[in-house]
Amino acid sequence: MSRQGVGGYRHWISFQTIFVKEILRFTRIWVQTILPSVITTTLYFVIFGRLIGDRIGTMGGLDYLDFIVPGLVLMGVITNAYSNVVSSFYSSKFSRYIEELLVSPAPDWVILAGYVAGGVARGLVVGLAVMLVAMIFTEIRIHSVAVTLLVITMTAVLFALGGFINAIYANSFDDISIVPTFVLTPLTYLGGVFYSIELLPGFWQGVSLANPVLYMVNAFRYGLQGVSDIPVGIAFGIIAIFILVLGAFSLYLLRRGVGIKT
């Protein structure tokens, strides 16, 4: 016992172990984890930004290409933070090596933090990669570094939590692709990535406001370009509330052992 360290330090080591393990996992298989998002967004930039974008002209006061940059970066962050946690945690359930963690004294919140941090790391790596690709096509200025980093990190945390909950409930590999396909993709596409909601008729503008992704995209666009469809403070408030709710729910599921203990 003496050499195992006490309390906080021990938890820190458990957290680090999970976090590093997660990073090694997605970097080892970077062709499956990092590359696809980079390729898709490159295509978006070429097709929507260059080819079609030139005909569209401006959107929300920006060149169309510049307008879609924040959304595409955020889309990469969202899908990657989510899929990292959902596939890693589900695999550990499926092959039962989640038991290595469950028998250990690492508390639930440390396990959750470790997996979420892993998802955030992949989200940010992809976000950065997409940003670098964007720099080939246009000039990137950052209006507010603090807002940019905060939005992107909080968004990654939020969707990493979503991936975690999905993995807890998943009973097959099909179950981990349902949510990304039927929920995540529509939410991001309709979340103002490609258009300003001002273009929508009043009713659909209202509906769009129920989409949390809209707030993230706009807050991020504000961070980069100083332009937003909605007040940034409200956006942060909404993201924070979602994080708290999903975080608390994840901890509740872990404590109950839903999906991982019989």
Partner: protein, 325 residues
């Protein structure tokens, strides 16, 4: 102090199946303890609850005096688990499996490396440390589960069928390893279907059947209960007619093989004397059945009634142990 103190432990699985029906069990510190029982008896369920992998329905679990519900982290740090089923990330190299496990227990990396080397060497896996898990054979995976379970130096090691599917040589070396570990102070609880293993390793024993403890005693007391023993003798010449030997019940298996049932009042030397008086020479002899095996079958049979397929000691598989006469 008790290493393990379990009271009124119950488990009802979703769907209503009651796998444990109120288990009371204590295991002393330093003991080498066998938990036996037929398939589906509830052994893994019991162990799963001890190791926090299965939620209990009722009852209390104390490990070295600490209540699992009050100080779960402490209880977890006391226990090392070798589960029945493989539970590895098959894409990791061997050494990383052990290092990760150490990390989860909060052991700093530097110390974890020292221990990983120590336990991988002790279990003969050090040369394979960079091999990916999926390339490891079953026997090696079993040994790795032991190394992984020891990396945080638990006071109580629980092994759920650690030698299932392991060849004789590795099994024997595991036995030696576990004996030494126990001698150095680690309390060990083991389940196995090889009763010879339990007999040779364990001092105390519990038999669990249909979710209940059917027997809890010391190995010696248990074996003492056998009042007859049956041997199979290989004879030198052919035997056409069964001789009359007082006190021994003889049975012809074939021309050169004789089965002898003798009560504990008689001795093997007495048997040999009687045989040679009749001009019968014996080449070798063996136990018809492992002694514990026989008791086990009788006990499980008696308690279970029809639930456990009728186990006739005469048709049960012979134990392979040979005694050369």
């Amino acid at each position: 102090m008790s290493a393990l103190d379990v009271k009124q432990l119950t488990k009802t699985y979703k769907g209503g199946f009651q796998a444990l029906k109120g288990i009371d069990l204590t295991v002393d510190e330093g003991d080498f303890f066998a938990l036996l029982g037929p398939n589906g008896a509830g052994k893994s369920t019991f162990i799963g609850i001890l190791a926090s992998l299965v939620n209990k329905t009722g009852g209390t679990v104390k490990v070295f005096g600490e209540d699992q519900d009050r100080t779960p982290e402490l209880v977890k740090s006391f226990i090392g688990l070798v589960p029945q089923e493989f539970n590895f990330n098959l894409f990791l190299p061997v050494v990383e499996v052990v290092l990760n496990q150490a990390g989860y227990y909060g052991i700093p990396r530097r110390e974890a490396k020292v221990r990983a080397e120590r336990y991988l060497k002790q279990l003969d896996l050090w040369d394979r440390r960079d091999t990916e898990m999926r390339k490891l054979s079953g026997g090696l995976k079993r040994r790795l589960m032991i190394a992984r379970a020891l990396v945080h130096e638990p006071r109580l090691l629980i092994l759920d069928e650690p030698t299932a599917g392991v060849d004789i040589e590795i099994r024997r070396s595991m036995w030696t390893f576990l004996r030494e570990l126990n001698a150095r102070g680690t309390t060990i609880i083991l389940t196995t279907h090889y009763l010879e293993e339990a007999e040779s390793l364990c001092r105390n024993i519990a038999i669990i059947n249909h979710g209940e403890i059917a027997e809890r005693t010391s190995m010696l007391t248990l074996l003492d209960r056998l009042n007859t023993e049956t041997f199979v003798l290989n004879l030198k010449g052919r035997l056409s007619e069964l001789p009359e030997l007082g006190g021994f019940v003889l049975q012809h298996l074939d021309d050169c093989t004789l089965e002898v049932e003798m009560s504990r009042r008689h001795t093997i030397s007495g048997l040999f004397e009687a045989l040679s008086r009749n001009g019968i020479e014996v080449i070798s002899l063996r136990n018809k059945q492992n002694r514990l095996e026989r008791l086990f079958l009788e006990m499980v049979d008696r308690r279970a009634g029809a639930g456990w397929s009728s186990a006739d000691p005469a048709t049960a598989p012979d134990d392979a142990r040979e005694v050369i006469a």
